[in-house]
Point group: C2
Chain length 349, copies 2
Amino acid sequence: MGISVEELQLAARNHALPLEMLREPITPAGLHYLLIHFDIPAVDADSYRLAIDGLVERPVELSLADLQARPAVTLPVTLECAGNGRALLEPRWQSQPWLTEAVGTAEWTGTPLRPLLEDAGISSSAVEVVFTGLDRGVQGDIEHNYARSLSLEDALRDEVLVVYAMNGAPLLPQHGFPVRLIVPGWYGMTHVKWLRSITVVDSPFLGWQQDYGYKLRQSEDDDGAAPVTRMLPRSLMVPPGIPVFFGRGRVLQAGPCELVGRAWSGWAPVVRVEVSTDGGESWADAALDADAPAFAWRGWRFSWDAPVGEHVLMCRATDGAGNVQPLEAEWNLEGYCNNGVQRVNVAVS
Amino acid sequence: MGISVEELQLAARNHALPLEMLREPITPAGLHYLLIHFDIPAVDADSYRLAIDGLVERPVELSLADLQARPAVTLPVTLECAGNGRALLEPRWQSQPWLTEAVGTAEWTGTPLRPLLEDAGISSSAVEVVFTGLDRGVQGDIEHNYARSLSLEDALRDEVLVVYAMNGAPLLPQHGFPVRLIVPGWYGMTHVKWLRSITVVDSPFLGWQQDYGYKLRQSEDDDGAAPVTRMLPRSLMVPPGIPVFFGRGRVLQAGPCELVGRAWSGWAPVVRVEVSTDGGESWADAALDADAPAFAWRGWRFSWDAPVGEHVLMCRATDGAGNVQPLEAEWNLEGYCNNGVQRVNVAVS
């Protein structure tokens, strides 16, 4: 493996979900994964303004109170970092070295984006909408504020929200206080935090995070690479038993054991989860929770009569669009979208 | 460096403080450092009981409501992991690979320990008090619940608290919900989370985390090694300017810049912070915040007229007991108490 000090610096600041907390349908404060490209900005809520500008008839600047006075929607949404699983790839791109745990689910409260844009009056020449954060730094040798765009069609989807609360409380500083974007179903880079402006434009946005970042390249000169968009199906389990401090192996008593976990996909709700308790030799269906949330993970459980010995536990998800989680994902240069199955080593005695 | 996958697994679950959040005197929820040996237990607050037992005249089991009905104290306390700085040592012990950021300060609310023990009636044969958590796992090849002891004298100090709230809210699951110990001034291993029992004993506690763990060894057969106790003095600064994503270098415009940070010691309040802007060639005193909290970090600031060029910024703390933070700490096998000074690389243009 040989993680570098630069990777470790990122791993220290960008928190992962401790896997046992998959037991909670809504991730508690401080345990949701974080990926923060630059620094967490200090934002004064009273003077904060969100600009809606560019190719609109009536540009506006909205205060936090203005946003809170609009119709409110609360939606449970699973977010996963596009780089989740990167550290398991070989060779491995030098960036945030995620293993499997860059995920979390919160109840986000905000106001739908579409009426905000419609009230501002979208120009007939509009092609994309650019979302810019207050966080600023250097990446790809370019100093910039973090910014991402969506096609006008994606931006106008009903479920896209401009949010100011998470699990019933104001956004935490690290989750975009006071206001961030939520685009249910998409990988984490889309949900721009510390949102400063929403800008309607008439040509594809060429900011570094959009035009260069988050592409599925096979090599550095792969110019036609597809962009990262929606989350591929993935399932994770709560490691059963108790842990060994170093190595995180699991120790379990022989006998009946209920394996539990959660699965999600950005393409359609999860319709199937399979479990293997023999390292992938055989698979059996897990029982799914009754509700299949549109944009949040779905719980599953599987009864296992754990025999004495060493075992490798695995799980894999299938979504309603027919996407099946692979044993090993296809490699790409920057290590995006690695939804290969989790492997949990258990010693049963 | 070459961090192993086992170290990375720990770095993913054990969150560090993003350094820019040193700007806050009280660390916001979810940004305080975490070191969790095993798994975060799921605890039902209604059925939770804290046992006070062992060599006491009247053993009791207290509910959360019982504890909350007792006199309450709120105290700002800085906690730092004993392994902070471990990853900067060479050779490096295989454990949680902290850089410099395993610290945080919260306002902890609870009830003093001493009256709890006195109400239970401490036996005249008492020597130590053992604090046992609900978290269980394997370390040092031994399956155990996390447990640590204090001498009776240390346990009876006025500032030792059994706490149930952090920053005015119930403890988060990862910080020991529903009840944990706080021993102001001591490194993090002392503040036992998910507290199950407080047991008075008449001989030194020989649990693994006490008898083997947290010792300042020079080699594996160093049997007389001193235990880790109180926090050594340390100062950290908020890295100025804006970051480079990979490498966390800082980019800053030339001209006046206020450097800010915080410093702490478990031996006495901090009385001096010095800053170097030339990689340690020269040092000058920073201005300290007026208040010198007994058990929380002290803010400092330093005016710097940043000249064009590459610079290494450093800071070092001195406490009221005369302890001075060293440029490089003494090496020990498991990498504890590394309070060597932080170095921040800045490119000014």
